[in-house]
Structure formats: structure tokens, C-alpha cells
């Protein structure tokens, strides 16, 4: 019964395959169920909130799309961070920098040569490949000095690299420059424009040749049909198609990282996390393994930089502030570092409940109640003297988008004190392509033995 392995490469394509082999893939299904539940919780909350805010159907679907987009984006980066930190123990807090390298490389490769800040004018897919390669390469450059350092130094060095990267893109020195005779420009603090990734990708998928007038493509037809049936606006449908692409990407990265984790390579990663010297003393070239895994994680971060922060066809340095890195950390810690399922669940809950939730609550309160909105907290406190809590409450509601950062901080602290393994708790997933938890020693696994009947009871 242990002959069937989870995450076996073949036969894992259609959803039907899991269901038919449900017994053989408990880990798979468990994960899907957990992620499904988290999605339902977040969706349920937003549908409820949306109804309370008096949104029409189109508005609710659009809200759900935005939340899903954000959640998948967070999930993509959280998975990459899980590969670095959760699996290997590399405490990388330079995520924003690697995202910036991916997004800016794509921007420079795809921007038109005659734009205000010119690029190479190459097709998008080359831009994406270049972005992946560049992020991995920068990961290599960072890894060389950083991997020898202790965890806390490593953290600060990665943060410093990320800030160097952002400040260089921000610098007027690179606003416009010549590279081997080719004119390029990052736009400095103004940022730069390039072909809109979101629109290009979603239209490519939905319409023949990416042209809305040429009629829907095979993939686009069901989406458009559902959109028509539900009377959704075309832009909402396009948004959903792009979001669906991200969902597929997350699934892809999820499987890749799970495969890496559930393998002898993943075992070496785990050993490095636990005790690097022990791993070395067992004959593992840990330096090389760390460099490989760091580069791969950085490539995924670069990918996230492109499809998330670079999706609008515009990038500027403010999209890659260090706070982005901390969002990802909060998401991963909520779900529990070391678990891919946790990464995705954490991203969903963080994006839905903590990140998008409070501003949404503010909208509802604004729409439903007529609270005073004093300019400063002082006026609110003074009103308390007249036993009128409304001004202070109104001020607090007005500050909700800022107060949620306090919430992030409090959640992070509470998790570290009370649940350092994340809300899913400690999830022990042995690093092997086999499900080791089901393995039995040879003398216990003989079903044909005469005593077999007794031991079964």
C-alpha cells in the first residue's frame, strides 16, 4: 500500500486523479482541503462584508478577485521564502530586492525603445525569462558573501542588498543610461512604463491572437460565458483570468517546491537547517546546496515581482520597500514556516483578514454610519470629556488603514510568543519521495504471516 507515492509526477494532472486515488494521496488531499477551507473562510467573510457594504454582485466578484490576486501574490513569495527559510533556514529579509530585480529586468527588456525611459522592446515572454534569470543571478551574487555568515548577519546583509538594489533603481544616475551603446532607463524615482503584463496575458488567453475583436479563444470561451451569464463587466472577467493565471503559477511553484522538499535534496536542506556541521560531516557539500536553493528561491521571488508588482505595466522603487518583505514574513509565520500548505493558508488569511479587511470595514462603516471625523486624536479625546465617544471612534475608523499595521505587529508578536509554529501547528512532513510515516520495518510488514490476523485487530 505504500507503493503509491504522494506527488508522483504522472497522473497528477486532472482533479479527477486525486479523487480516484484518494487513499493513495492523503497528504495531497489534506493540503487541498485545508487550503480550500481557508479560501472559503476568506471568501465568506468578504461576501458578508460586501453585502453589508451594499455592493452589487459585480462589486463583490470584483472584490473577491482583488483579494484572490493579492493572496496568490503573497502565496507565491511566501512559498519562495519557505524554500529559503522554512526548509533551509536561510533567513532572507531581502525579498523585496529580488522582486525588484525580476520586475525591473522585465521592464527594461520589454519597454519600447522610443519610450520616455527606453528599453529593448523585446516580447514579454523574453522579459519574463530574463527577469527570472536576473533574479537568480543576483541571488548568486548575494549568496557568495552572505552564506558564510551567521543567521542574524545574513538577515541584515540580505536587507542591505535589497536596499542597495532599490536605491540604485531609485537613483537619478540610472534614470537614463547607455549600456554597450543601447539606451536604457529606469526612470529613477519616477518609475518606468512597459507593456501591461496583466492585460497582455489575460487578453492573450481570452481572445484569438489577444485581440478582443477577433472573438474568444478556447480558454476564453468558458470565462466569457460565465461572465455573461453572471452579467459581469469585461474588466472583471479579465481580472479573474489574470488571477487564474496566478493561481496556476502558485500551484506550479507549490508542486515544484514540495517535490524539492520531499526528496533527498530536501533532506539535505532540512539537515542544513538543523545543523550544518552535521550535514557536512555526513559528506554533504552544503555550500553548493545552499547556493542552488538560494538562487532558485530568488528566481521565484523575481517571478512574483513581475506578475504581482509589475502587472500594471509600470514599476517604481516604492513598490519594493522593505515593508513588502515583512508582509511575506507575516504571511508565512501565520501559516507556519516549513510548510507549503501553511505558506498558502498564511497568505490567504493575511491578505484577506489583515490586509484587505480593515480598509473594507472602514468603507462599510463610512457607508452605514455617520461618524464625525475629527482632524486629530486630540479632538476625539477632548470629546470623551463630554462623554461622547463618537469623535474618537470616528477618528479611529478613519485611521483603520494605518491601524492595521499595528495589528500586523501585534499578530506577529502574539504568534511568536504563543504559536511560533503557525496556526496550523507543527507540521512534520518527512523529507523523502516516499511517505516515510507509513513505512514499517520488514519484520512487521508481512501480511501473509499466520499471526497477521491477530495483529490486525
Amino acid at each position: 500500500m505504500t507503493r503509491d507515492t504522494p506527488f508522483e509526477p504522472d497522473g497528477g494532472d486532472g482533479p479527477g486523479a486525486f479523487l480516484l486515488n484518494a487513499d493513495a494521496r492523503p497528504r495531497w488531499l489534506d493540503d487541498v482541503v485545508i487550503i480550500g477551507k481557508a479560501t472559503l473562510v476568506v471568501y465568506g467573510l468578504f461576501i458578508g462584508l460586501g453585502l453589508a457594504a451594499g455592493l452589487d454582485f459585480n462589486g463583490i466578484v470584483s472584490t473577491l478577485q482583488q483579494v484572490t490576486l493579492l493572496a496568490t501574490s503573497f502565496a507565491l513569495v511566501a512559498l519562495a521564502l519557505n524554500l529559503h527559510w522554512g526548509y533551509t533556514g536561510l533567513f532572507n529579509i531581502g525579498i523585496a530586492g529580488f522582486m525588484a530585480v525580476g520586475a525591473y529586468t522585465m521592464a527594461l527588456v520589454t519597454a519600447a525603445p522610443d519610450a520616455t525611459f527606453p528599453g529593448l522592446g523585446l516580447p514579454l515572454w523574453i522579459g519574463v525569462l530574463a527577469g527570472l534569470a536576473a533574479a537568480a543571478l543576483v541571488g548568486f551574487v548575494v549568496a557568495l558573501p552572505a552564506l558564510r555568515l551567521r543567521a542574524d548577519y545574513f538577515a541584515i546583509v540580505t536587507l542591505a542588498f535589497a536596499e542597495v538594489i532599490r536605491l540604485v533603481y531609485n537613483s537619478s544616475a540610472l534614470q537614463e543610461f547607455d549600456l554597450l551603446g543601447v539606451e536604457l532607463g529606469t526612470g529613477g524615482g519616477q518609475g518606468m512604463s512597459f507593456p501591461n503584463l496583466r492585460n497582455t496575458v489575460s487578453r492573450r488567453l481570452m481572445y484569438v491572437d489577444g485581440d478582443p475583436t477577433a472573438g474568444p479563444s478556447l480558454v476564453g470561451r468558458p470565462f466569457l460565458a460565465i461572465g455573461d451569464a453572471l452579467e459581469l463587466s469585461p474588466s472583471v472577467v479579465e481580472g479573474w483570468v489574470y488571477t487564474a493565471v496566478l493561481v496556476v503559477l502558485v500551484a506550479f511553484v507549490f508542486v515544484v517546491i514540495t517535490w524539492i522538499g520531499n526528496s533527498p535534496f530536501g533532506r539535505v536542506l532540512k539537515a542544513i537547517r538543523e545543523d550544518e556541521l552535521a550535514a557536512r560531516s555526513l559528506g554533504k557539500n552544503t555550500d553548493r546546496v545552499k547556493i542552488k536553493v538560494f538562487m532558485l528561491g530568488c528566481a521565484f521571488m523575481g517571478l512574483a515581482g513581475m506578475v504581482w508588482q509589475g502587472r500594471r505595466g509600470y514599476v517604481d522603487p516604492n513598490l519594493f520597500l522593505p515593508i513588502i518583505t515583512f508582509y511575506i514574513f507575516i504571511a508565512l509565520i501565520i501559516g507556519g514556516s516549513g510548510s507549503n500548505t501553511g505558506s498558502v493558508v498564511g497568505a490567504l488569511l493575511f491578505a484577506g483578514l489583515l490586509f484587505e479587511g480593515p480598509p473594507f470595514v472602514q468603507r462599510i462603516v463610512d457607508a452605514t454610519f455617520d461618524l464625525p471625523r475629527p482632524p486629530t486624536v486630540y479632538d476625539g479625546v477632548i470629546a470623551l470629556g463630554d462623554l461622547d465617544p463618537m469623535p474618537l471612534l470616528g477618528y479611529a475608523v478613519g485611521e483603520l488603514p494605518n491601524l492595521r499595521f499595528v495589528l500586523f505587529g501585534v499578530v506577529l508578536i502574539a504568534l511568536m510568543i504563543y504559536r511560533p509554529d503557525g496556526i496550523l501547528g507543527h507540521r512534520n512532513e518527512p523529507a523523502s519521495p516516499l511517505d516515510l510515516t507509513k513505512e514499517r520495518p520488514p519484520r512487521e510488514r508481512d501480511p501473509a504471516s499466520p499471526e497477521g490476523g491477530e495483529s490486525d485487530e
Binding site: 526528496s263 533527498p264 555526513l282 542552488k292 516515510l436
Partner: protein, 268 residues
Amino acid sequence: MSEAGVSEQERAEADMLRVSNLEKRFGGIVAVDGASFEIERGTITGLIGPNGAGKSTVFNLITGVYNPDAGRVIFEGEDVTGLRPYQLVDRGLVRTFQISRELSGMTVLENMLLAFDDQLGESLWRTVVPGVRRSIVEQERALLERVWETLELFEIDHLAHEDAANLSGGQRKLLELSRALLTDPEMLLLDEPMAGVNPTLEKKLLERIHELRSQGYTFLLVEHDMDVIMNNCETVIVMHQGRVLSRGSPEEIQADERVIEAYLGGEI
């Protein structure tokens, strides 16, 4: 037990490991000051000495954790000085640690599976390319059989699914030794293998070591427990103040005035 009657020539050929004039300084402190000795193939050799004699540093110098400031380490006739730990493991020189370095967040099975050298699935691309992944699964199954064999030999198969962190001190030592065996070593360096091990387990561990020696493995152990050393080693090397003070059979060492002096002077 005695090596009398064997010529110098034959002895040199039988040497598994030769260490000559090793030196290591930390800042101003000379930890190892010109230590030289050889270990014969298929023997159990004990390395003893008062605290601070430089035993652990010699271990770390031989196994590539530290780089010597001077001197040579010759393993099976090849100069391996300055090689890194993983390269030495490839050549069959494997160690365990004084404070056992079980990988505490990993199960016993994972710990054991980690030890095998050159696993297909240790290259990143093989783990993610769908068709190729099958070969990893097959290899893993084969390796797992060897793991079970070894676990049963060491009688810790009932702990296979435990996290190593939950093992007792003695069980950890057993885990470390059995794990080291799976790397296919020629020679095992054991740093205080009996520390914190209860008498029953100690007996078991020693039985295993003797069994393995008779199969041709070579052992070098650092140990504080004199009974263990004197009752189990063919040869004993005594270090004092970074140098080799004496070398001989347990009887010779016990009769050596200098050794007694070094211990008395060093510890009381």
C-alpha cells in the same frame, strides 16, 4: 594483541591513517603542538589525555573542521590535509561528535537516509523533472531497506518514526554511529561515544564496534572512561599538552610513568 614481531615496513603498509607533526594555534594558545601518530587498519585505537591535551582539536584537524597550521594528514596513503569534511567523507573518513549531532528536527529514518552518499535525488533538477523523479523513488526504496537493516542491527528500529530530539542520550549515540556507518566509511572517528550512555546501551554499542572491527572497519576513539579504553582498544595513544606523550598497548600505557604523571599533574 601485541604488535611484536611485525617489521616497520609491514606496519607502514597496514597504516590506515598517518598524522605527522600537526600543529594548530588559536590566537596565542597552542592547542596542538606537533602531534604525530599512525593508526593501523582494522584496529580499535584509543586517544586519551587529560583535559586540554588537544584530543578534540586533533579530531577536528583530521576531519577537516579545522585546517592545521602545519603538518600532514595521510589517509590510505593519500595526503588529505586541508580537505573539507564532505570530501573526507567521500574518501571514507567519517566522524561522530562528542555532543551528538543528531538532526533533532528530523526523524530517525530521515537521519539515516541522509547519510547515503551520491543519492540521485540530491541533485536539484532530478527532483523536479517529472519522468526522472521515478528513479529517485526507486533508489529511495532500495536505500530504505538498508536503513531498516542497520536500524535492526542496532536495535533502534522501533524508534524509526521518532524525531531525533525525543531520543535518549544513548539512543542518540547509537543513531549517530549507525548513521555514520551508512556513509560507507573505511574508518570511524568517535568522539566520546560512551558519554551519557547507560551501561546496558554501552555494552551494546561496544559489541557493535567490535563486530564492525572484525568486518574490517578501523576505529579511533576519544574517551574519558579509562575502563572502556583499556578493555577494548588494541593500541592507546596518550596526548599531553598538544603532543603525543606515549603510544602502546593498554598494558604498556598503564605501566608508563610519564602517563601517570601527566594525569596526576593535569587533573589534581
